[in-house]
């Protein structure tokens, strides 16, 4: 990894996010983007998105038409691009994960089509910019590359699947460099969806707390620049860290509920470690999926216990969703950058809101800001439809 970009409710860019994650700052506030008056939950980790855009190669007309998700993606993508030192031009694969792309535009389209069916004003533009491939193309245009673009929509594992796929492209020699990540913006459909499932917590989420009451949603984007070691060294680029493993598996238990024993989660963690030749005791930190729903955390705890075995007692775990909420398709990408930050700066992101640790956790939950010597970090992402993905990172020294 030679470039990393991130935008969350904690802020824009590496520095402000690292500062927030390091101390376990929580970034929730009442939802302002849409009306939640009739919802059970009323908070989310919203981003204060700047009006301007980072330096880019988009035509002014195109830049004006970018909406919330695309703008977040552009902020993260530009930061990663600039840090990587890559030059514009040529074919460079882009692999992105998202669950809903620019869904807020889709909502406007649907609203107008349903409530004012004879009014077609702006509808064509909404259709164009709603589609997820459009955001991928806009990122390509913004940094001046020709793709190809692959969009993986594997629910809340999308971001990790995208990075994992990108890593496999580089590792197999099919690509020398890949720009990859995930993004999702808050929207009413998704918010109402999780609320309808009674999965949203009225208060900021508390992953792995015995008295947790559900998840909190957030929004954001993260992008990584991946390249072969030869390519990075050939450019004398600063190497931020290394991806050393990726595992993916499908939980076939239920569309929205994980297998009670976490079979697929164990499989994805084990697979990521096997690819890397790493054993659980060598993993210093695990960034859990940890959504804070009663079912998901219980299952993930069982899965981590099973996967780590006797190493569980020494394993340090946290879910950074306690700070920024669940970013859905962006979650795996943002949490990958959090792992990278922890490895680079040698600290562990705490969950300061945790009150009573769920007794199912046989591992240590990081509750206080702490400096730590860590060399290997694992990140879990588990989504609807049983999409399970794990990424393994190593400190670059």
């Amino acid at each position: 990894m030679t470039g990393a970009g991130i935008i969350t409710a904690l802020g824009r860019g590496w520095r402000s996010n690292a500062a927030g994650f390091r101390v376990g700052k929580a970034a929730f506030r009442p939802v302002q983007l849409f009306d939640v008056g009739r919802q059970r939950a009323k908070i989310a980790a919203e981003i204060d998105l700047p009006e301007d855009l980072p330096l880019n190669r988009l035509t002014p007309k195109k830049a004006r038409r970018l909406n919330r998700a695309a703008r977040m993606l552009l902020w993260a993508g530009s930061e990663a691009w600039e840090q990587s030192g890559w030059q514009s031009g040529g074919n460079l694969p882009v692999v992105l994960g998202t669950t809903s792309g620019e869904m807020a535009l889709g909502e406007k389209y649907l609203s107008q089509a349903i409530l004012s069916p004879r009014g077609y004003q702006r509808q064509a533009t909404r259709i164009i910019y709603y589609q997820v491939q459009r955001q991928g193309l806009d990122l390509c245009d913004a940094v001046g590359i020709d793709g190809p673009v692959t969009i993986i929509a594997n629910a809340c594992a999308s971001g990790s699947n995208a990075i994992g796929h990108a890593w496999e492209l580089v590792r197999s020699g099919r690509a020398e460099r890949v720009l990859t990540g995930g993004y999702d913006a808050l929207c009413q459909l998704t918010y109402s969806g999780f609320d309808s499932l009674q999965a949203l917590s009225p208060t900021p989420c508390r992953p792995f707390d015995a008295n947790r009451t559900g998840l909190s949603l957030g929004e954001g984007a993260a992008v990584l620049a991946l390249e072969t070691l030869e390519s990075a060294r050939g450019r004398d680029a600063e190497i931020l860290g290394e991806i050393i493993g990726y595992g993916a598996a499908t939980d076939i238990h239920h569309l929205t509920q994980p297998h009670p024993e976490g079979d697929a989660a164990v499989m994805s963690m084990t697979s990521a470690c096997q690819v890397a030749g790493v054993l659980p005791p060598q993993v210093d930190y695990l960034n859990a999926h940890g959504t804070a729903t009663p079912h998901n955390d219980a299952t993930e705890a069982i899965a981590i216990n099973r996967w780590s075995g006797e190493a569980a007692a020494a394993l340090r775990v946290s879910s950074t969703k306690a700070s920024i909420g669940h970013l859905l398709g962006a979650a795996g990408a943002v949490e990958a950058v959090v792992c990278l930050m922890a490895l680079r700066e040698q600290w562990l992101p705490p969950e300061c809101s945790l009150e009573t640790i769920d007794p199912a956790c046989q591992f240590q939950i990081v509750r206080e800001p702490v400096n730590a010597q860590i060399n290997i970090a694992l990140s879990n992402s588990f989504g609807f439809g049983g999409a399970n993905a794990s990424l393994l990172f190593r400190r670059w020294m």
Partner: protein
């Protein structure tokens, strides 16, 4: 690309359920009849080409996961089962590691529209039964559950060309020994909201629904996936015409006994010098984005299996993302 072979194909289309129905309408070459679909606020309905009802209720609907699924998932399961046919017992027994890739552009819009209508009415009473089915990867998840396969499973979203990207990805998984076989599906479903949207861009196109699937393995079979071209994006610096030309340049000149499937009239110019047979299925079946590309590949497989031609080129100039092509040949 290491050698990859097609071991089966499946189709659910406006032509009917199964590859023979698709083959028949391709052979007839006559546009299928259109159906009317109501559009709120308008007296005149929209025209679509829907999948006709199955000859009998599919047995797979008795599976606990599939009782409430929508048309898109039903079509995906039916096409996958047709494509996988003889390998199903080994997949279900865990002897064959099956990868799944499902491609779509509009996705499961019916559930999304119905759920959002609930939200517009009153978000507090929106149906929790609908929401999980709105996620793009619901069909892929149901298919995996039905087959009992826990291997890698991706849902790719993009324009018509995405199905061919997925073929290349499947070939990579096979080459890397990630899986023993991979079923690649393209699917879309008919809903007035998409049919209405399509009118804003392609007034003459008739929206269609359904699914198509091909099953790839490394072991030899009579039909080989010979090549997938690079994907050429429509960017600020590259028009779709230029992308189409670049895609075309990666194919060699066609021989007499070769067939070309192209995807829209605007790309005919890049194939001006094609002397083999050519077929353009959208006027016959309708425009179904990822499913339409899948049907072309399914028809290619069928034509090669029947030894009607020795090679088939599938050329896709997608709706709004990329130009990409694939070549299939007799092994």
């Amino acid at each position: 690309m290491s050698r990859v072979f097609l071991h089966g194909a499946g189709s659910v289309s406006p032509a009917g359920w199964g590859v023979p129905a698709l083959r028949q309408v391709v052979a007839d070459g006559q546009p299928l009849p259109v159906q009317a679909i109501a559009r709120p606020g308008w007296e005149n309905p929209l025209k679509v080409r829907s999948v006709p009802p199955p000859p009998e209720r599919p047995a797979f609907l008795a599976h606990p996961r599939l009782r409430r699924v929508g048309a898109m998932t039903q079509h995906c399961i039916a096409t996958a089962l047709e494509a996988l046919s003889g390998d199903i017992p080994d997949i279900q027994a865990g002897k064959t590691r099956l990868g799944i890739i499902v491609c779509m552009m509009a996705g499961g819009v019916t559930y999304s529209r119905r759920f959002f209508e609930d939200v517009l009415c009153d978000p507090a009473t929106a149906s929790p039964l609908l929401f999980p089915e709105t996620v793009f990867n619901a069909p892929a998840s149901h298919l995996a559950a039905f087959l009992g396969t826990t291997m890698i499973n991706y849902t790719l979203v993009g324009d018509d060309g995405t199905f061919l990207q997925a073929l290349a990805l499947a070939a990579d998984w096979l080459a890397d020994d990630r899986v023993d076989g991979c079923v690649v599906l393209g699917t879309e479903e008919v809903d007035w909201i998409v049919a209405d949207a399509l009118r804003l861009f392609q007034r003459d196109n008739i929206y269609a629904g359904g699914a198509g699937a091909v099953y790839l393995k490394k072991t030899a079979s009579p039909v080989e996936l010979a090549m997938v071209t690079d994907a050429f994006l429509y960017t600020q610096g590259q028009s779709y015409q230029s992308a189409a030309r670049q895609m075309r340049a990666q194919f060699r000149e066609g021989g007499e006994n070769e067939l070309l499937f192209d995807s829209q009239s605007s790309e005919h110019t890049v194939w001006d010098h094609w002397y083999g047979q050519r077929l353009f299925l959208k006027p016959i079946l309708g425009d179904a984005f990822a499913a339409a590309t899948a049907w072309q590949c399914v028809a290619a497989h069928a034509a090669l299996l029947a030894n009607e031609v020795k090679a088939v080129n599938v050329s896709i100039v997608g709706a709004n993302q990329q130009a990409i092509g694939a070549r299939f040949c007799r092994a």
